[in-house]
Subunit: 399 residues, 2 copies
């Protein structure tokens, strides 16, 4: 990096290269790609403090495998866990299905080592859970997508591997019921909640043809609780919650739990399998608004593009909607109309154009939907402070 800094050679740091917005991909042609893959050493795990310390190139699944005999697990899980690297996860503040239970990856990172654009190393690699000594520099680098420094080592707080879980699927007729179920779940299931996933009937139709005994519903909620407490107590908690609803199924055995999860996991896979093109959006907003946002996009498309189909699914309790649109062929006009409708809605309601995927190169020009002019100006000042020659992942995040 020192050399590249002196010679003004742009550098694209790259982990598992599994990002969704082109953050780890060279796109100009003059960049050096800096792979972290061989920095894959696990330094230590301290079971008392429950902190793992490792290099950035460690693959997420390998870290989970290393932790399993100790009875611990990484605080995040995502589809690409077999190839994504923890350094990339941290650089993008990756989300996923454990967010609801364990919070953001950011909030589980205790320490980092970072190499700056000029080759200087900042060692913030401590394993302390509490440390109020000056500005918390690590948060500048977490989620900055390799534009402010290259993360080489991380310390991550790890939760316990849980012995028992119970999964339920609710079928609901009104969107408001899905929203109300969030408070009810917090009340009845509290700290045992492990996941609340959500999808609509359009998503259900492409995901499964299996009869669930729920009849036709407009909305579905998958709710999971997990704990080390005995299975009966956990089941009791879930039954208490389920008792509030007329359409629900419960799963305690592995096979049935898996089949309920498949309904959720199949949605993006089914979209991928359909001939045609899928326009994918990863946005966040108040949970009140998912259906309203979806209906608005649907409404704007319906008049001119009757073949376009809109699907809503995502992490309802986190306010993270995956809005997907399908059309028989790619059509730039559909993309433009959907995007302008959705982003205008987000601007109005202070939503985010990227809940978990980041900005990368694909969303850089839309950053102003979610961030004010002053905030973006401050980001530019920080970028200039840390990387005055703009060698680190140029044109990513800020273009």
């Amino acid at each position: 990096l020192k050399y590249c800094h002196e010679q003004r050679v742009p550098v694209v740091p790259q982990g598992g290269n599994t990002g969704m917005v082109g953050g780890s991909v060279p796109h100009r042609g003059d960049e050096v790609v800096l792979s972290l893959s061989r920095m894959n050493k696990i330094h230590s795990f301290d079971p008392t403090n429950a902190v793992i310390q490792c290099q950035s190139g460690c693959i997420l699944d390998n870290l989970n495998e290393y932790l399993r005999p100790y009875g611990y697990v990484m605080p995040l899980d995502l589809g690409s866990s077999g190839s994504c690297q923890i350094g990339g996860n941290v650089a993008t503040n990756a989300g996923g299905i454990r967010f609801l239970r364990y919070g953001s990856l950011r909030s589980n990172i205790l320490g980092l080592k970072v190499v700056l654009a000029n080759g200087d190393t900042i060692d913030l690699l401590n394993t302390l859970r509490k440390d109020n000594t000056g500005y918390d520099l690590k948060h500048l680098f977490i989620g900055s997508e390799g534009t402010l420094g290259v993360i080489t080592d991380v310390c991550v707080a790890t939760p316990m591997l849980l012995a028992n879980s119970v999964t339920a699927l609710l079928g609901l007729d009104y969107y408001e019921d899905a929203v109300a179920a969030l408070s009810a779940a917090r009340n009845k299931l509290g700290e045992s909640i492990a996941a609340i996933e959500y999808w609509d009937s359009a998503s259900m139709r492409i995901s499964s043809t299996t009869q669930l005994g729920l009849g036709d519903c407009r909305f579905y909620l998958l709710v999971e609780v997990a704990s080390n407490m005995n299975l009966e107590s956990l089941e009791d908690r879930m039954m208490d919650f389920l008792g509030m609803y007329s359409k629900g199924v419960l799963a305690t055995d592995e096979g049935k739990k898996k089949s309920l999860w498949k309904l959720r996991e199949n949605i993006p896979l089914a979209l991928k399998g359909m001939n045609g093109h899928t326009y994918k959006y990863d946005v966040s907003m108040s949970p009140h608004l998912f259906n309203q946002a979806t209906l608005m996009v649907q409404h704007h498309l319906a008049a001119e593009y009757p073949h376009a189909q809109v699907f809503q699914y995502g992490h309802l309790a986190d306010g993270n909607l995956h809005l997907n649109i399908w059309s028989p062929t790619f059509d730039q006009e559909i993309k433009n109309l959907a995007e302008s409708t959705l982003y205008e809605f987000l601007r109005l309601h202070r939503g985010s154009i990227s809940a978990e995927h980041g900005i990368g190169v694909l969303k850089a020009k839309h950053l102003n939907v979610s961030k004010s002019e002053k905030a973006i100006a401050t980001m530019r000042n920080l970028k200039f402070l840390f990387d005055p020659y703009n060698i680190l992942n140029p044109n990513k995040v800020l273009n």
Copy 2:
């Protein structure tokens, strides 16, 4: 601030003025004190999203009172909750006894509004749980003790008020048993853990003369679980944990729970009540090391100052030790010896000289114990970027 910036007038932002390190106190004589007390408006609470939005001058207890009818509570609690203000809490990333359950205050802050040194306002006031759009600027201001900007409004994620809790006190003969109890508690009590507090026999002697039926023990652990699940299930979980220990008492009724908590709460009060001087340290390190650090300080003092007494207590699971030393009169030599011994130990073991109290003016000269030269240089660069005329809380954090 714009005026002060132009005229180079130093400004000390002040919330409830309850800090422990002089961060909110003018100390030069030429500063304007900027009180946030009258910015005490609660903007809104959204029970679906469980987010409260309010101004910085709101007193913590008032926010709790406002939330109670909704069934929610602030994610932090500390001794000064009757007068500390949420803006000061955020500016210092305040800790307290809910840290173990809900994580740092930092990780519960969803949005901020900040006025910069030059009077510009950065509006980061969103209520989104997930937002990966560019650098997460709010983390620069959280914990920066009013040196980078003045926080005027905050959005805080709030946990549910819990109906039931069970408290237990363990008496242990070996320090290693206290450390081992952390993993055991995580395993048996898991997500229901609400607090794990720790103190030694010296602390117990000054805190209470009551017979607990535990006999004389060298170390004590107070463990609490809290949940909305029924009290019997919660008690079962705690009994399962307690069964592993020979000396333990259980409390389910309010009176007995309170009396166990009093043992912990009385320690600093008892120290305050003793004639003489108490030297107070708020440090963090791996939980393995509390006793070793204490013994080392004790050992260094014993030879020359046989009247000095050392007390250890704190939040063991968070790695946060409150090491207190008492002597019959204030003695600068004792302070110097204790401090140099403790800080050298922290430097060696990558501990923190301030787990939750911050740096303020009192610890600014020791910042280099916990932060590297490069890290401090980076902090100085950030300070200069945000406050080039050094008008915001000068000589605090960085001196």
